[in-house]
């Protein structure tokens, strides 16, 4: 039976490279046949939701927008969920940020520490926590 990796991701978009590193690592692990679970905790919960389209014109130029898009790894979370990763978020940290109840990206599930994260831990061989 293949080993399972759980990534506890505490960082969201843009603030650092944790999310980008986590997704790159998850993709590589899935490609090698490992199981991957990601718990979006703290600011990481901001990655769970579908984005709201900009209403009207954006005030960014194309170059700045391209730079900001590097850190937008939400679509890649959907991709690794489709590859078999289990991804859950924490509704309490969502509540604290005013996003509880917002629509999730495809493949990302409502979650909590008491059950979702605990289940991840009980079924994992390696736990990595990425935060700053």
């Amino acid at each position: 039976m293949s080993k399972n990796l759980t990534i506890n991701l505490l960082s969201g978009y843009q603030e650092n490279e944790d999310a980008l590193f986590a997704v790159n690592l998850a993709e590589a692990a899935l490609s090698k046949g490992y199981g991957v679970k990601i718990f979006l905790y703290g600011n990481g919960c901001n990655l769970a939701n579908q984005e709201h389209p900009v209403q009207g014109a954006s005030h960014m130029n194309a170059r700045l927008q391209a730079h900001m898009d590097i850190g937008k790894i939400g679509p890649r979370l959907e991709k690794i969920a489709a590859m078999g990763a289990e991804i859950a978020t924490c509704h309490t940290t969502e509540y604290g940020r005013g996003t509880e109840g917002d629509a999730y990206r495809v493949g990302i599930k409502w979650g909590d520490v008491g059950q979702s994260f605990t289940k991840f831990l009980l079924t994992s061989d390696v736990l990595l926590t990425f935060g700053h």
């Binding site: 080993k3 650092n16 590193f21 690592l25 490609s31 090698k32």
Partner: protein, 93 residues
Amino acid sequence: MLFLLNKTQPDTIGLIKLLGGDVDKEVLLTQDAAFYATSSMQDQFHQAGIAHIYVAQDALETRAIERAPECQVVDYDRIVELVMEEHDQVVCI
């Protein structure tokens, strides 16, 4: 024991020594911790008993860091092997 570093912080070496004790220690440098891949840090790592130092290729290239020769450059496939197969304990700091 593998220490996965994602940032620079005061007394990183002291923290590794405190958490790692006398066990065999290796270090994987990612994100801003790639700045520790420069030559000036290597003596401190060796004095702390760290046997091997790995640095993530993307972090190194993004920052255009000139690494010390003893730092081994690794891609994500190799990082997966280090984390999932080659160490009983992985500590993120």
